[in-house]
Amino acid sequence: MAGDALAYQTFLSELTRHLRGFLRRRIPQLSDDVEDLVQEILLAVHNGRHTYRPDEPLTAWVHAIARYKLMDFFRARARRESLHDPIDDYIDIFAVCDDEPAAARRDIGKLLEQLPDKQRLPIQHVKLEGLSVAETAQLTGLSESAVKVGVHRGLKALAAKLRAIA
């Protein structure tokens, strides 16, 4: 949270495992959706990290976000099911549960390509290729603050796109 990338990556990886377990216990009959939800919660945690206060328990904060996203998922699903024949949604009730990450059905990489250039390029250079903000600014011709804003807005837009598909 203080900007230490390595510590943050460790935190997110552990959170991923934790979330996978949390969701598999709660929606075992919907194992196909677990990985999508894990990704959505990770993005929500990242985009909402400014709402965490270090003097409060981290687990309460993370759980509140995970519960909120799970409830949101149930609501969206209930809406969808009221429109569709629900029978085939319950076929996967016997799906085996394992600890390997299932493939996510929504491809964030493809969603990333749909973002406008001034959001996509900063994310690609800073986040995927590991360039610094200054290098990215030089490469794209954007100002340094535009690069930072682009990353920030791009990740928010990505979260919104994920939610729209859900």
Partner: protein, 213 residues
Amino acid sequence: METDLLVSLLASGVTPVDRHVVARRFGWALLAAALGATLLVVLFYGVRPDIGTVSATPIFWAKVALPVALAAGALAVTIRLARPGARVGLAWAGIAVPVAAVWLAGLIVVLMAPASARVALVMGATWRSCPFNIAFLSIPGFVAAFAAVRGLAPTHLRLAGAATGLLAGATATIAYCLHCPEMSVAFWALWYVLGMLLPTVVGALAGPKWLRW
């Protein structure tokens, strides 16, 4: 994209989090709410002509104290509801105590007055328009406060919407004190509280739709 890749995408090039972003957001929202409501009072209702003399009396400040206390209470509750996992707890008292106090004071005033004067104490001369005026004045604050809360991460959308609406309503009522000629505690206890309730209800209805993230 695999989840592992998403994790490294999120983690690479992270910058330290701005710790004051919550305070700054609400600061701007409150400023917009206060300025917007004051501007609307001046434009549409006009400041009461005797504001100079009346603002020297304690009863005027008692009247201002009600929405100020409620705005502070609503702000405390809204800020907590806007962050995941934060408990509201004792902050609810910041809303309950001012309302209980004004109801108690209003009741005492009515009971102590002669029976013939009671209706006038409660209804005043402007009861018809007062709640709607307050609701109208709360519009700029409503928009600003909802924008502030939207940028955070509320997890109980209906409650967060209601608290945000109350914050806008209470701020608008402070500004309405510049215009409102009513000086009876019993009047405030009923109509001011009703006026603030209107944006609160609208907030509770709009929360699940507008605050979703």
